[in-house]
Symmetry: C2
Subunit: 343 residues, 2 copies
């Protein structure tokens, strides 16, 4: 398994001119604010997580253990003028955590400097070296996975929201991250898209291991069964997860796969059928319990009509997790699996 990130965090935003580039930092500040002491910005930075601005030295005094690179510039490489800040963090003994394409170890001297000060370089894009082939063996505990009609339709957000909602109700739940942003938010996980394909289902088994019978793993899905580039990743993750429950995620503004106009998104009913059919291989009792939509482009009136139409079509609760929250999915989950009373 990946090393678990040491908390608390200082979020590095560099001098990014774009708030969009800082979505990782913003995600961490939103979902795990209690783990963050502040943000570290260079002059000219246009992004803001709302956390206090701290120098590296101030952060160290406040007990910070990890500097998280929370910004992804175009191209995914480190900016040369960031590097002195990273060196200073290393000298202060902070772990440095990155999800960028360029490996931290490729920055000359940084690994030695970090090691000399008892800290670690952690590239969350690098999967564990000891992954194995899936066994397909049944395991205890409950698992939900968010699946998508396409990539980038809210699978991570929905999973984080369901996990938070369950924990707020005092239930046993763990978010299981499968992408770099999710891993940096949660502090652990496996970057599924970087795993050698023979081991994808095995990585999913390791990510959501046997657990208490009333514990839910809420797994961040990847890709889409309907995406010609990534469906194999999606399927391997689905099979290894052995999910009890699926939540289908969909962007209401899309009718075709993003960037691939020749690939129409099937109806939600067909999407559900195909996901359930595929997931049945490793869990014959799997069911879809809700539809999470991104309705950000819609007026409230239009969304209201569309939500009603989707619920009539699928017979399942539909919600935009950002506008509506995810309580209705929890209700549906408990109704389907009778797990609310098991705790």
């Amino acid at each position: 398994m990946l090393p678990v990130l040491r908390t608390p965090y200082l979020l590095f935003l560099g001098d990014t001119p774009s708030a969009t580039d800082a979505k990782t930092a913003i995600g961490i500040a939103y979902w795990r604010r209690e783990l963050c002491r502040g943000q570290f910005r260079l002059p000219g930075c246009a992004a803001d997580t709302g956390l206090p601005d701290l120098s590296l030295e101030q952060a160290k005094k406040l007990g910070v253990r990890s500097l998280i690179i929370g910004v992804a510039p175009m191209g995914g490489a480190f900016q040369p003028h960031w590097i002195e800040s990273l060196r200073q963090a290393a000298r202060l003994g902070l772990d440095i955590v990155s999800g960028l394409h360029t490996r931290l170890g490729a920055i000359p001297g940084l690994a030695q400097l970090t090691a000399a000060h008892g800290a670690r370089l952690i590239d969350v894009r690098v999967p564990p070296a000891d992954l194995t082939v899936a066994t397909g063996a049944k395991r205890s505990g409950r698992r939900l996975i968010t699946v998508g009609t396409d990539c980038a339709v809210g699978k991570k957000y929905t999973a984080l929201a369901i996990d938070r909602c369950l924990r707020e109700r005092g239930r046993k739940s763990s978010f299981r991250a499968t992408g770099q942003t999710g891993i940096m938010i949660d502090g652990s996980g496996i970057p599924i898209d970087a795993v050698v394909c023979d081991f994808v289902a095995g990585a999913a088994e390791r990510l959501s291991p046997a657990n208490d019978v009333d514990h839910w793993d809420i797994v961040e899905g990847q890709g889409s069964l309907f995406h010609p580039s990534y469906a194999g990743v999606t399927l391997g993750l689905l099979h290894g997860t052995q999910p009890d429950a699926l939540v289908l995620c969909h962007d209401l503004a899309r009718t075709t796969i993003d960037g691939l106009a020749d690939y129409p998104i099937p109806s939600l009913t067909v999407c559900i059928e195909r996901y359930v059919e595929a997931a049945r291989l490793t869990n014959s009792n799997v069911r879809c319990i809700g539809i999470a939509v991104n309705a950000s482009a819609m007026s409230e009136a239009d969304f209201s009509r569309e939500r009603a139409r989707i619920e009539a079509e699928t017979g399942l609760p539909c919600a935009d997790p950002i506008r509506d929250g995810v309580d209705r999915f929890i209700t549906a989950l408990d109704a389907a699996f009778d797990t609310a009373t098991a705790k």
Copy 2:
């Protein structure tokens, strides 16, 4: 793409006590005998490809360019007492080609010795470093892929036999290898199971590129949609191939996935439906044109009855490629795609 292997070959069998361990060498000698000058065996070797026994020096004089490690001992590591033979091959300027787990470069000094004599070390398990995500874009040429009800049900053999049969009829055809044995037989290919999962469909696109409209790529399938460990690999390869035609491969002796008694193999009709449904994502005109079975455990009378039953169930020709050949698949292919007249 992988380096294309230099021919002709000398097949290295070591001192294996088991003919089964030498299945790669036996496969190369069977499918590409014209490329082989001989076999190299150490004292005690129990395997035999039927090729002339040659010393390394004799092979060099006969123009051999590559020493192919055609034996896979339990554990997939090089035997220490083989290494002096590999060093001698390197001194003679022969490329050394291996599909074993242990990398050739891990043998101390071998890389330098090979380079000093103008030869190469080729690990066919290592995929190209420059693979990319699939585009999903349509391309010219025809493609057939062998798909399985399970792993190890004859997908490679069937693909090689169909390719050979097409070429014997003067048709344009290329076998496209996706596993180490197939790559060593054909001299090129991509080891799909070692590819990072995000790139599997992209690797399949590169493996079977755009071609003449009357050219068939016959792609070696991997894994099975019904195998809980490997279905993601199977699906990514299927999507990237954009197949026009499928041949479903099945071992008549199996009712469950090999080694996984909890995973029953669905009926052939369901298997065909599921493969066609999955493949339609990238080629809406795909169809299954035949069932290739391994009937090695059956008497001729039993097989005859079973073949008739399968043909009645599926409406497709059924043949054991070893017992029956694959002519009926070619007939079905031509009937379905009218490609016989296109050449």
